[in-house]
Amino acid sequence: MRQPMRPSAPRSVVCSLLAVSLLSGCGSSASSGEGDPKTLTVVTHDSWNMSKEVLGQFKAETGITVKVQPQGDAGQLTNKLVLTKNSPLADGVYGIDNSFASRAVDENVLASYDSKALPDSAEEFRLAGDGADRLTPVDYGDVCVNVDDTWFADKKLPAPMTLEDLTKPAYKDLFVTPGATTSSPGLAFLLATISAEGDDWPDFWKKLMANGAKVTSGWTDAYEVDFTAGGGKGDRPIVTSYSSSPPFTVPEGETQPTTHALLDTCFRQVEYAGVLKGAENPAGMEKFIDFMLGREFQEALPDNMYVYPVDRSATLPESWAEFAPVAPNPFLVDAVEISANRTEWLRAWRDITSR
């Protein structure tokens, strides 16, 4: 092992010192139940938000307690798994999306598992190539341009419909988007434009920037500061967000949202789960993947994590069916292609937007 800086004191000494000063023993870690089939550690992205009742159901069915550890956004999560593949962080992972799936597959961090629980209707989300039996699709969401209907009604201006509309003079200085290098919806929006415009996407972005598009670092900045219908009552009525955002804009005491998503501008993000290579409890993770594809978990997804279940027969909450429809023909970019080109695309994009 290359370890340029070893602890100067023998570890046992260090440990006993620490044990005194920290009032705790060394190695009091989560994986203390080594090989314990009754506990399961799952690393996830930060958006993990499944209710304890649903996890309690899993425990009732299998006797397994799930420990969830959020590890950053999908990019951070994937990179941490790659860095720790020689001594895995957990038994399984949930939350790798299609823009990082190929990296996880190529770097060999996942064991193969082909869940029998995957419904036929979800086959369309399965990865092509090597990833097909490593990552199981669990849910998906659409990243779409959202518009503030109240603002457009006040200005008596028709709202835009397509990506091309965003470059028209009528919509000058009205669009704000989080950046592709710093934000996951920002990257999704860039991928939507790449899918829509093909090799001409840099020209599209030049036109977009020339038309006064504003690029912020994160979704929060774009939506909560610059967007007219966000928390900060900004001055831009067009924003990159999710197709699930509009139901949040129903004013108190009313029934209709004040925003809607443009369904012809959407990029589809699919989120996957997998068993980590070298896991202590792979069988437990396999059971958990099956559980995630089951009805209870699938139907709990929209209300808890604002994503759509891959199982088309799962019932959606009423407000979703009405105000958060999925895009009929979302833009797609193949996971292998994303993985091969991401760095190059992002550098080109950064050069155009920071000019």
Binding site: P7, Q71, G75, N79, S87, S217, V225, G231, G234, T249
Partner: protein, 548 residues
Amino acid sequence: MIGLGWASPPAHRLGTAALAAVPLAALVLFFLYPVGGMLARGFWPEGSFAPGEVLEVLGRPRVHRVLWFTLWSAVSATFVAVLVGLPVAFALHRLLFPGRDLVRALVVVPFVLPTVVVGVAFRQLIAPSGPLGSLGLDGTAIAIVAALVFFNISVVVRTVGAFWETIDPRREEAAAALGASPWQVLRTVTLPALLPGIVSAASVVFLFCATSFGVVLTMGGLRYANVETEIYLLTTQELDLSGAAALSVLQVLVIVALLALSARVRRSTAPVDRSTRRVPRPRRAHLPVLLWTATVVVFLMAPLASLVIASLRRGERWGLQNYRALGTTGERNALLVPATDGLLNSLGIALVASLLSLTLGSIVAFLVSRPAGGRTTGLLDGLFMLPLGVSAVTVGFGFLITLDRPPLDLRSSALLIPIAQAMVALPLVVRTVGPVLRSIDDRQRQAASSLGAGPMRVLLTVDLPVAWRALLAALGFAFAVSLGEFGATSFLARDDNPTLPVVIYRLIGQPGAENFGMAMAASVVLATTTAAVMFAVQRLRVGSMGAF
């Protein structure tokens, strides 16, 4: 633990070494080893040593731009923060006026607020649609520097203030009596005596600014990048570890240069005479300083005021509903646990982290303040500044790849977060306590020894009476840092016991007026808690004074 016999030199040296071993072991284990692990991954990309890739990164024009921006934004923010903060340090630590303790507590609040919240509050002020929109500051470098100053003024006020409090005013009075103008007194007596404190504060502020992450991302959009944001992108998005290693090495070089510079300044300073006299009430001549302080407090409170206003509003309705909602999990279950649980978790973690950093930090401060140490203590002092200057991403990822095997399988332990926070707060403790201890004339200790006092007795009768203010200030500071810490915490594994900043981050990352309102309310709660803790620490010391 401090049962050192320094009656005989060899025993003295042994005792010092044993004492130094504790904080050193913590530093090696929780900082140098993880960072070294990450650097090694960059220098040995495919398992074989390939420094060429790292060198290639240093030649990239983008890296030059990033480095240049880091340096000038940090230098100018440090300069402004010191300039703005000095008069405030004077007013709050050398004058006694009603409400002083409250103002002192308020001044610290910005330092601990999560950058994402302050970023949003700041941007709501200066965005084209905001009240200061006409200034056209949104997305400019000036906005970044202003935000950095906003966060760091409290560091200057507290570090310099704690030092200033202990300086004997009689020398200044003597100079004035001999006919020196106030300006001459300031230039020839006060500033030279204060220099160690100022240098100490400035180097900490510089490191905070040079490694600031959230501020640059939020305020700069994507036009500006500093070394820290670049390491973040290279590590978490591109997995370009050679690039990240190159930039981390640059960070270390900058710190070493900075520390060498500040050590030179410090070495040239002499001990200061002490006074136990009570500080005076302000006179008419102090009016400018008080006005200045009032202006600075307004600047610091403006973004906070906009937070308070936003927290009292939901959509078009005003009231306390956002605060009441903190006991719930938010609109459409945005949270897994109520926000109030986050506050309790934060308080518990902050308690552990601040005690840990106070213990380790006081030992280091004690050691580096021994006049006999020379180069060794300089090195020790520098070593413990490193955690401030190295990227939190590198440390966080380093934890994952190094602390992964028994007996050190700590990477998913609940202790890791307080430990990481303690490492961040440790340099602040050293920098708050160290200069004060160093300013004690060693002859006092020698006199005590020759009168028969043992080392423990010397510590209690000479060092402690001078240092206790600084120790309490350091404890409060460490507690506050831990309460607001988000950077290191967010790169470590978290279980389902989120801290309040994590809760706020999650709420503000979801659409919905209720979630936004709750994020604002939770930020106000965090700010109020911090101010209350700082206020209590200041009150506490009155009681403890009788104990010595």
